[in-house]
Amino acid sequence: MATATKFVTSEDHARDVPEAVVVRFAGDSGDGMQLTGSQFTLSTALAGNDLATFPDFPAEIRAPQGTTFGVSAFQINFGSATIDTAGDEPDVLIAMNPAALKTNVDALKLGGLIIVDEGEFGARNFAKAGYEQNPLEDGSLAKWQVVPFNISQLTLDAVKPFGLGNKEALRCKNMWTLGLALWMFDRPRKPVEDWLKAKFAKAPQLAEANIVALNAGHAFGETAEIGSPLKQHHVDPAPAEPGLYRTVTGAEAISLGLVAGAQLAGLPMFFGGYPITPASAILHHLARYKEFGVVTFQAEDEIAAIGAAIGASFAGSLGVTSSSGPGIALKTEAMGLAIMTELPLVIVNSQRGGPSTGLPTKTEQSDLYQAVYGRNGDAPMPVIAARSPADAFDCAIEACRIAVQYMTPVMLLTDGYIANAAEPWKVPDTTTFERFDVAFHDAPLGEGEAVNPYARDDKLKRVWIKPGTAGLMHRIGGIEKNVGTGHIDYDPANHQAMTDIRADKVLGVANSIPPQGLEQGEAGAALAVVGWGSTYGPIAQAVRRARARGLDVAHVHIRHIWPLPTNLGELLRGFGKVIVPEMNNGQLKTLLRDQYLVDCRPLTKVSGQPFKIREIETAIDEALA
């Protein structure tokens, strides 16, 4: 994460003064666990802990109540030291019904704490969850510490004064639970209360009921005479650079970064999108930023979305489009047009589980091939990848910079994990950002001179002439263009020349990016773990732990997927071994082996879930064994 300053090992310490805790809230889709989680996150951030979250919800809007496939979960890892992942194994599981218990308990740390809502533990719900008997009673949870309360009843009792219907009253359960959780970790309730008041501004009675439930949960923790498992923990703030902080999800950060990028380019932004999980949130955020000259357009499909973005770029805006796998696939043909017409364009791909419809709400990194190679013709395009929610902000700006400085479409890869996860973010001082203002070409023609839309600078960038500019009328299109005039040209030598220019221009982007650095460890280490995108967290922690154990391992994390940093080949060749963990079947690995002939070994995971730190640590051990 962005605020890391000092290295402190976590989770491996004794538990008395915990330095990192992993809590997982799980309930029915209708139980509001995502809200509970995000409010808990906010209070955690305000308490100064470092943190990472992992929302994990079903594809269904609302699956039938009580079923295992309807379970929605939210995991948070927070601590007084640097936190890079949402945590391998929860210390605490709060399960609102049997299905939530069933689907989540196996991940729980040995001896971990389970809090369940006893009120939901009845025969009907056992059947729906596929339990033959009451798990609270059959000894099957013996490895863990179980604390059952009747949260449903306690909530109903608490909000009775408001005279809500049964269903509405039970909706406050999540606030009761949050109240208890806030007590457990010694957190103020005020921010949640404020948030509830704002949220239910039009129904102050509901705000009050929820606040009462929240306080009741908190009070229950304070007063209830429960045995040792449930006790209050205080987690100290994590060291952090001074400054203003907020939490940010990847989708938010990308949206903000795009706005910033357009501002730094001095351009209005046009965003063409079509809803798709997990990309939609970017459209939703941007739809609110009208005052930044952002026009959002919900198109009829992904093709129209990118088509409109290309049209907007042609007209002088910064065109942006976004989708996830299936939608990106549909945009393929139009990307070729943007490459051929050399128009700036940012394409955000929020990767999800594939192929096809796949696992829409799960995370994966399996669109790298598509991003780098997935077009007809020799169609080079820069690709960059964000490693975390906060990093997504910088990457979005970088994508905008490359797009306008090289007149090219750029793909920005993120994924379902980054899009939904939240982390603390030190608010940057945007006034210090380097601008990359666009200078449209508008110089009047000289005597006898013809307009040449494919005239280039020494970076091979072509001129950008806005329609509406007096006297510079010209035509562009998807057919091959003459290298000297921009007119249609089918000549063999010309096609070769233009193919080379397109390739060289994109390769040239490497001259504008920093050399590849090391996250941890030294060049020439016995082993390098090379990652990209959202595997950053688990790789960083795993390498940290391995190094703490004295292993000679380095961590290389690649932002610029294409073109790759110019020093990368040399760097990779220097390591004893290289492993490449990816949430796919080995895609970056292909790129690296092709480019550098280095024996990069894939470590793959395609389950829709992020890597666990342990999985990578094990791979490190095996590689160095």
């Binding site: 907020r246 088509g307 017409t341 509406g468 998807g478």
Partner: protein, 341 residues
């Protein structure tokens, strides 16, 4: 363009050699457009021609304006971006029956329902010209083509009926070589919103004379040229269209001695959508004429003006303060001296 000199058709022609087959109807349309634009008095540097792929879609290369020859079927999407990015631009979409109605049907529908302010010229030659003559969605049943060597069997779509069904607010028809085409183009340009113009265009190579039943000189009597406020007469005024009040559908009547009132011939009211539907669906050929000119016009707010207006209203008085934006939400300060553990 600081000084506005009166332009001519020539000023709208590029230096590119025109690459259609000799005798292609596209030439006539190009001429008509090049002649009409200076008459309307448009500024070439504020004019953009956007096309898909097809013979007709080569059009922008020949217009000395801004132009974008895009990909097959997607011109309306690119046009939408252009217009939303800069509503001052005067946008023309050039498309074919395959481009607009085969691969591009969905975008055609959406640009019409959204009512983007633009002119859409659909060159209907009832064939795929560029790919060498396969039948298209507007080809008549029985069309023999390389892909249907024994005759096509699927029922064609009617471009204008489709446009109306999609919510178009301006639907007109013209003929490539007909002298009325400029007038139709002018009406389309004058209309604010998406103006849909179906142009019957002869593909001399792959579908020659398919429209001859009403375009040939001797068949001009089958043309029903509509004009607002004028009776629906054709065949030199000897026939007219009326409503069969029993069967609630259109009917052809003979007009004797010009007494069209007596024959109850309908007066064309371009905003009558119900009648427009019936006009575009007249079973041409079987004694029925082809409705030409402006069949339907009833303006509505345009898409880009609504978007621009909403954006303007919402950003009024709000400065574009990037620092404030990134600092939004619930925030916290970490003190100067970081706490170490």
């Amino acid at each position: 363009m600081t000084e506005m000199v009166k332009l001519t058709a020539k000023d709208f022609a590029t230096d590119q050699e025109v690459r259609w087959c000799p005798g292609c109807g596209d030439y006539a349309v190009l001429k008509a457009v090049q002649r009409t634009l200076p008459e309307i008095g448009v500024d070439p540097s504020k004019t953009v021609f956007i096309s898909g792929i097809g013979c007709s879609s080569r059009f922008p290369y020949y217009m000395e304006t801004y132009g974008f020859h895009t990909i097959h079927g997607r011109a309306p999407t690119i046009a939408t971006g252009v217009k939303l990015a800069n509503p001052e631009l005067d946008v023309w979409i050039i498309t074919g029956d395959g481009d607009a109605l085969s691969i591009g049907g969905n975008h055609t529908m959406h640009v019409l329902r959204r009512n983007l302010d633009c002119q859409i010229l659909l060159f209907n030659n009832e064939i795929y010209g560029l790919t060498k003559g396969q039948y298209s969605p507007t080809s008549r049943v029985g069309t023999r083509s390389p892909s249907t060597p024994f005759g096509s069997v699927d029922r064609p779509v009617s471009p204008s009926a489709f446009a109306l069904g999609s919510g178009a607010r301006f639907v007109a028809r013209g003929i490539d070589v007909h002298k009325n085409l400029p007038a139709v183009l002018k009406a389309a340009h004058a209309h604010r919103g998406a103006s849909f113009v179906e142009i019957y265009q002869n593909c001399i190579v792959y579908n020659d004379d398919v429209f001859a039943p009403f375009t040939a000189k001797e068949n001009a009597g089958n043309q029903l040229w509509l004009e607002a406020g004028q009776p629906m007469l054709f065949a030199s005024g000897t026939k007219g269209i009326t409503l069969d009040r029993e069967r609630l559908c259109l009917k052809i009547v003979d007009v004797i001695d010009g007494d069209w009132q007596g024959a109850e011939v309908i007066v064309h009211e371009p905003h009558n959508r119900g009648v427009a539907h019936m006009l575009v669906e007249m079973p041409v050929g079987q004694g029925w004429p082809v409705a030409l000119g402006v069949l339907y016009e009833d303006p509505a707010p345009t898409f880009e003006s609504a978007i621009i207006e909403q954006n303007r209203a919402l950003s009024e008085g709000k400065p574009a303060d990037l620092q404030a934006l990134v600092s939004k939400g619930q925030t916290w300060e970490v003190a100067k001296e970081p706490r170490e553990i």
